[in-house]
């Protein structure tokens, strides 16, 4: 119970937990970057007008979106060493899994953002003589970007939470570090409560920040 809540165990293992959080953040940032690049390419393919590209892109997106992230993690934890022919450690496997998985979601966000720009805007641009790229650059993308940013940021928070699923292959992120401490010191209550609070504070601050940005810039 709470009267035996031992804060020392947290303080004593703080450096260990911080290292875990660093890995969590690293994984999040790396997956965002990789996911955004691949996701943008997929979205462009989807909207390219070439049916083969668009089919490949939509198949990719639907495929990853019907799978649970844990299964994707298992897949790549199994596949990557097999393809490379040598063990590479869990981190790279899960990183690849996250990049490929997130790309499917980013693709949908970017596509929806571009399509959210009303057709009339495209016509208006064409009517004053802008070519396709000028129209994209000056009319469509700036508006699309405004629509996308809040969703992309929210997705980043979801991803940050989702990285905790690397637990299933034992990559030492924040949760796994806390879990190790919890079992070693037999302090399950303290460690899991702490983990929950840290995630809650970080994600809540993040989403409050997004809402503020949204209001400030009328995104």
């Amino acid at each position: 119970m709470f009267d035996q809540f031992d804060t020392n165990v947290i303080l004593e293992n703080l450096h260990f937990l911080i290292a875990g959080m660093q890995l969590t953040l690293l994984l999040t940032v790396a997956a965002i970057c990789g996911g955004l690049v691949l996701g943008t390419l997929l979205a462009l393919a989807r909207l390219s007008g070439f049916w083969i590209l668009s089919l490949i892109s939509s198949t990719y997106v639907n495929f990853f979106r019907s799978m649970p992230l844990i299964l994707v993690i298992f897949w790549f934890y199994f596949l990557v060493p097999l393809i490379l022919g040598q063990p590479v450690g869990g981190y790279y496997s899960v990183l690849i899994a996250f990049v490929l998985f997130e790309a499917a979601y980013y693709c949908e966000i970017i596509r929806a953002g571009i399509q959210s720009v009303r057709k009339g805007q495209v016509y208006a641009g064409q009517a004053v003589g802008l070519n396709y790229f000028q129209n994209m650059r000056y009319i469509v993308l700036p508006q699309a970007f405004r629509n996308m940013v809040p969703v992309l940021l929210t997705q980043a928070i979801i991803l940050f939470q989702d990285t905790s699923l690397v637990y299933v292959v034992g990559v030492k992120d924040f949760l796994v570090s806390a879990d190790l401490v919890a079992n070693r010191e037999n302090r399950i209550l303290e460690m899991f409560t702490t983990v929950a609070c840290v995630y809650l504070i970080m994600c809540l601050s993040g989403s409050i920040l997004i809402r503020k940005l949204q209001r400030r810039y009328a995104l």
């Binding site: 119970m1 709470f2 495929f63 019907s66 799978m67 649970p68 992230l69 844990i70 299964l71 298992f74 897949w75 199994f78 596949l79 097999l82 393809i83 022919g85 928070i157 939470q161 989702d162 905790s164 699923l165 637990y167 299933v168 949760l175 879990d179 399950i188 209550l189 899991f192 409560t193 983990v195 929950a196 995630y199 809650l200 994600c203 809540l204 989403s207």
Partner: protein, 240 residues
Amino acid sequence: MQYNWDWGVIFREPYQEWIISGIGWTISVSIAAWILAFSLGSIIGILRTTNNRISRRIATVYVEIFRNIPLIVQMFLWYFVFPELLPNDAGMWVKREMPMPEFTTAAVCLGLYTASRVAEQVRSGIQSIGQGQNNAGLATGLTTVQVYRYILLPVGYRIMIPPLTSEFLTIFKNSSVALTIGVLEITAQARQIEEYTFQGFEAFTTATVLYILVTSIVMILMRVVEGRVSIPGMISLGAK
């Protein structure tokens, strides 16, 4: 890349049985969690649209807490920490006597978590209908409860069919997190088969195909439902 293909493995015992039982658990956890998520989420979502400041506050706090802690952490909290916080007897009951403890915990946890997401969908569905309909109902003398019962909810839930379908599919996928507290659902079984037989391709492909299959069935089914309940003359309700 060296790999010995053996698709037969998934049809051999005990692996075939594992797969069948796995898909059974996946579906059971999903449905049990969905019933909880849908009912609780609806109540919380509706509370968030009411004029009562206190109930709105409570609903908001619920949503913010449950959606800002990773699901897997919530799983651990319910499974490991929650029984410790209960009075002795109740804690003992949860740990020792509660029927199917892993399943129950997983379903409740997933349900409570998803309720926060459902609540958001319900809230935005109702809010998209607009104040005008609310006023129109009130102006004819309907009470607030009647306005919800006869106007806002029937229209709102129609608008919500697509987002709620995707929430159900999310629950279905998220049910895999139950494996972290020992529910042997389909992903866990696939992993187990891989570990026993080293036939990862076959095992994971089976699980993948099953997920895609169920996802497709649910989507087709919901499209039929959506068509059945669509309002004549309206192209898109959400647009208004």
